[in-house]
């Protein structure tokens, strides 16, 4: 899959087929469509992801993150977007459906 490039990460939301499971180290994300598993290695990143409901801006979602760490959080969100875990609310599901994932 090649998600369409996003001019800016304006707002994002979890793909509806993604399940989020908190773990002591952060969280596990599983995409039922692509069978892709992702790890959030920071509880604060989980908080950010949970805040992303498609209406709040990224800046708002990242408001509690110290300025020195915002760049790395943005990188993590970009990765989650590239892998289809997060989508732009305007993206149609057909476009975001990842067909590459190969389950074990």
């Amino acid at each position: 899959m090649t998600p369409r490039p996003q001019a800016s990460l304006g707002t994002l939301t979890l793909h509806p087929q993604v399940s989020v499971r908190p773990e002591p180290f952060g969280a596990l994300l599983y995409h039922f469509g692509t069978r892709r598993l992702s790890f959030l290695k920071d509880r604060r990143l989980l908080d950010v992801v949970r805040r992303l409901d498609g209406s709040v801006s990224l800046d708002e979602a990242l408001a509690d993150i110290p300025p020195g760490e915002v760049a790395s959080f943005r990188t993590a969100l970009a990765t989650l977007t590239r892998t289809g875990m997060l989508i732009s609310p305007t993206t149609s599901l057909a476009d975001s459906h990842d067909t590459v994932g190969a389950p074990a």
Partner: protein, 405 residues
């Protein structure tokens, strides 16, 4: 702390687990790791299975690897598959193809949340049927054809590697390509009836090397379930997580609801509890003393001084256990040859199987009795029946194998 270290201490719930729905099977494969054949009358009812699924949903276990026995011979098989996928538990199931007719294939093609693995242990009927029984090759290919005709995408062809089929790797790949399927290679374990035939079927040393080279050359297009990490001692590690998932990120639920540390370890020594007990599966996962033990830091034992220990971590717990080797020593198929030495050592006692659902257990016993080391087990109890030292890397259906991490 690295992510893998968090995994080593166990997760709040499994990422996935293997669930053998029934011991009933239309086949009698000589290497069956669960000694399947006859249905056990105590197997979980439909309602009990649904209660387990409800619990897996609450725990957010993302998917189950359903097997058996032959799971599709349960009359409620499709009902349970539908129930699981409707409750956010994805399903991958393994089958010999017996019930995958045109209608079943269409049904599967219509679901987004079900993956199918067709078992095939030879790229020709001659090699396959010698292990899986007459007609089983044609049955598997018919199932693959039905799936392809129905437009089911990316079925898996699941192969247990033996010394008789390792020369067919390219033919297996061609077969998978023919059906638009993905090849999945896994390791033969001396578990269940596999213990009876392991000496005759496990790959020869030079074949292990050929397999390793083949996997390195075809890594991206072939799944392995992280089966072959013991081959990593040849050189660079094969893709996968360097961790024994048993009791930490995976486990097995058997048809009776018994919970074992891993699908290759159906033995009393690896039994953690039962889903029918108070607290259900969640309590077994979180409270079992065995699992707590498996989540402790492990040492390499006799292997810790080997320069390859970092890559192979001593190999597979189940392979050692069922060949009567110490759990903190080398894997029986250690590519450095330490396994052969250990197997040849005096005093080795192969454990007696705890569970046998074979169609003809008497025949299976007679077969075992015909082998020197196994006959002794009728009289001898394994002295250290409670494994007290385990490798810190496993095996099996590593939940992360093949997933895009």
């Amino acid at each position: 702390m690295k992510l893998v270290e968090h995994f080593a201490t166990g997760l709040d719930a499994p990422i996935c687990l293997t669930w053998e729905l029934t011991y009933a099977c239309n086949l009698a494969c000589s290497h069956c790791l669960s000694s399947s054949g006859k249905r056990d009358p105590r197997e979980l009812s439909t309602e009990e299975c649904k209660a387990v699924i409800d619990e897996l949903q609450r725990m957010q276990v993302f998917y189950v690897n359903i097997g058996g026995g032959e799971p599709t011979v349960r009359s409620d098989f499709w009902e349970l598959v539908d129930y699981a996928t409707a409750h956010q538990v994805g399903v991958k199931f393994s089958t010999n193809g017996v019930r995958i007719d045109a209608e079943a294939a269409r049904r599967l093609a219509a679901s987004d949340y079900v993956d199918v693995q067709i078992s095939l242990d030879g790229a020709t009927a001659e090699v396959n049927d010698a292990v899986r029984g007459a007609g089983s090759f044609d049955m598997a290919l018919a199932a693959l054809q039905h799936l392809a005709d129905a437009g089911f995408r990316d079925a898996k062809i699941s192969v247990v590697c033996t010394r008789h089929n390792l020369g067919q790797l390219d033919a297996f790949k061609a077969l998978a390509d023919r059906f638009g399927a993905t090849l999945r290679l896994t390791r033969l374990r001396p578990s269940g009836r596999g213990a009876d035939v392991w000496d005759d079927l496990h790959p020869l040393p030079h074949q292990q090397r050929e397999l390793y080279d083949w996997l390195v050359a075809h890594g991206d297009g072939v799944l392995t379930g992280d089966s072959f990490f013991h081959l990593s001692a040849y050189g660079s590690a094969l893709p996968g997580l360097n961790l024994c998932g048993a009791g930490r990120v995976v486990c097995l639920i058997d048809p009776l609801g018994d919970v074992y540390a891993c699908p290759f370890a159906i033995a009393d020594e690896f039994l953690a509890g039962n889903v029918r007990s108070e607290g259900g599966f969640a309590e077994v996962w979180r409270g079992s003393a065995l699992f707590a033990d498996l989540r402790k830091p492990q040492t390499g034992g006799a292997c810790s001084s080997c320069q390859h220990y970092d890559s192979c971590q001593g190999g597979c717990m189940a392979a050692k256990f069922f060949t009567g080797l110490p759990l903190d020593g080398p894997d029986p198929e250690c590519v450095q040859g330490y396994g052969e030495t250990a197997l040849a050592a005096a005093g080795r006692v192969v454990p007696q199987p705890s569970v046998d659902h074979s169609h003809s257990p008497a025949a299976a016993r007679a077969m075992r009795a015909g082998r020197g080391p196994v006959a002794l087990t009728l009289l001898t109890r394994r002295p250290d029946s409670r494994p007290d030292s385990r490798p810190d890397r496993a095996c099996e259906e590593n939940p992360l194998a093949g997933l895009h991490v």
